[in-house]
Symmetry: C2
Subunit: 245 residues, 2 copies
C-alpha cells in the first residue's frame, strides 16, 4: 500500500516534524527557531516548503513570525488544541496519562449535554443515522478494528444532530479521544465490545426524547471509558517496567 500522498509531501512532512519538536517541548515556549534558510538546509527542502510548513503551524497558533525578529514558539495558551491535526501530532508523540485524562474530562463535559440536546431537538433523520451507526457496531462483533469506525460515527452523529456548528467542530476532539481509546484497547481486546449496551441505552433514551436519561446514559458510558483507559494505561506502565514478561 503506497502511503497517502499527503504524508509524503515535504511541506506536510516537515510541518509534522517541527510540530513534534514543539509539542514534545524540545523547542519550548518563547524559543526562537532557526532561520528559514537554516531550516531549509536542515530538513533538506527548499525555503518554499519550509514556509509552507511554518504557515500551517502559524494557522494552528503554535508559532508566530515577525520580520527581522524571527519565528518563535507561542505560549501554549494560544495553541489551538482542539484542532484535529494538532491532536493527532500530540497523541502520536506523547501518549501520556495526563493527555488522556484531560481529553476524557472534556468529553465528559460536552458529550452528555450534546446527548441531551440531541434527545430534545435532533431530527428523526439524524437519529436514524445514529441508529445505523449503532447497528454496524453491533455487526462488527468482536472485531475491534471494524468496531471503531461506526463507533466514531455514533458519537459524531450525536454532535451533528444537535445542529450546533461548534459542537460539530468538537467532533475532532472526540475523534482523537476515540482513536486513543482504540489504540489502548489492543492491550485489552474485549473492551470495545463491552461498550455496546451502553451505546444502546443512550440511543434508547434519545429515541424516547428523554434529555435527562440521555445525559445520564452518556455519563455511564464515559465512566466505562475512563475505567478502560486507566486500566490500559496501568497495564502499559507495568509492562514498560517489566518488559520481559
Amino acid at each position: 500500500m503506497p502511503k497517502p500522498t499527503e504524508a509524503r509531501q515535504p511541506s506536510n512532512h516537515v510541518a509534522r516534524e517541527i510540530a513534534n519538536l514543539i509539542v514534545t517541548g524540545v523547542w519550548q515556549e518563547g524559543f526562537t527557531l532557526p532561520r528559514e534558510i537554516e531550516l531549509a538546509s536542515q530538513f533538506d527542502v527548499s525555503r518554499t516548503s519550509i514556509r509552507e510548513s511554518l504557515s500551517i503551524l502559524k494557522a494552528k497558533g503554535l508559532i508566530a513570525a515577525r520580520q527581522k525578529a524571527g519565528t518563535h514558539v507561542r505560549e501554549r495558551i494560544n495553541w489551538n488544541m482542539l484542532d484535529a491535526e494538532l491532536l493527532d501530532w500530540t497523541w502520536a508523540q506523547r501518549p501520556s496519562e495526563e493527555f488522556a485524562r484531560q481529553l476524557l474530562q472534556v468529553r465528559r463535559i460536552v458529550e452528555p449535554e450534546a446527548s441531551a440536546i440531541c434527545a430534545e431537538r435532533g431530527s428523526d433523520t439524524a437519529l436514524a443515522r445514529i441508529e445505523r451507526a449503532y447497528r454496524e457496531m453491533d455487526a462488527a462483533g468482536m472485531d475491534s478494528s471494524a468496531y471503531s469506525e461506526p463507533d466514531l460515527r455514533f458519537h459524531h452523529g450525536i454532535l451533528t444532530a444537535t445542529g450546533n456548528e461548534f459542537l460539530v467542530a468538537f467532533g475532532a476532539t472526540v475523534e482523537a479521544a476515540l482513536r486513543m481509546s482504540f489504540e489502548l484497547s489492543t492491550l485489552n481486546p474485549g473492551a470495545p465490545r463491552k461498550s455496546l449496551p451502553y451505546h444502546r441505552a443512550i440511543l434508547d433514551e434519545i429515541w424516547a426524547r428523554n434529555p435527562d436519561g440521555a445525559r445520564a446514559a452518556m455519563h455511564r458510558l464515559m465512566d466505562l471509558t475512563e475505567r478502560n483507559i486507566s486500566s490500559a494505561l496501568a497495564r502499559r506502565k507495568s509492562s514498560d517496567v517489566l518488559p520481559a514478561t
Copy 2:
C-alpha cells in the same frame, strides 16, 4: 493609528477575503476554486501569496487541494469552527442570530463545568489572577470598553485554572462570544456593568471551594448574557427595519 502589520500583509489579507467568500456561502461546500494563477491575478498578488493564503485556510479545514484536481471547499463538518481567526471572520461577516445562539449554547455547556472544576482544583495563584481581573472590571465602572478586557481575562482565568489544555483552547471561543456581546452592547450601554455582581458571586463560590455553587452561579451569568444578547438582537432587528429613528 497605523493598522497592525499583519493586516496589511497580502497573504493574511487575501486569506481573510477568501475565507469570507467561503463562510458567507458565495463559494459553497464542494465548490472548486479558481486556479492559483487566476486567483493571483484576481487578487492582484503573486501566486506565492495566494499559496500562503490557501495554506492557512487548509490548516483550518476550510479547503483541500489535490494536484491536477484543483482546490475545493470542504464540507462544514471539517471546518475548525473553534479556531480564533475563523470565529472572527465568521462573526465579522455574518453576525446572525443563529451564530449567537449556538455560541451561547456552547458556553453554557462548558463554562459552568469549568467553574466547578476551578472551585475544586484551581490553585490559589490562579484564583488570585481571576480576583485581579474582577477588581479591574469593578474599577472600569461604566466605561464599557475598559470593562471588556478584564472581563475576558476573568473568563479566561477560570478556564486556565482548570489545568485542562483543551478547556484553555476553548478560550478562543469564549473570546469570540464576549467580543460579540460587547459589540452588541453598544446598543445597550448599561448592560455590561450589570453583570458585575454575577461575576462576584461566581468568584465567591470558587474561593469557597464550592463546585456546585460555582456551577450554578455561572449558569445565572449565562442566563443574564442570553437576555442581553437577545434583547440587543431584537433591538437591532427593529432598527434595521426602521433605520430613521
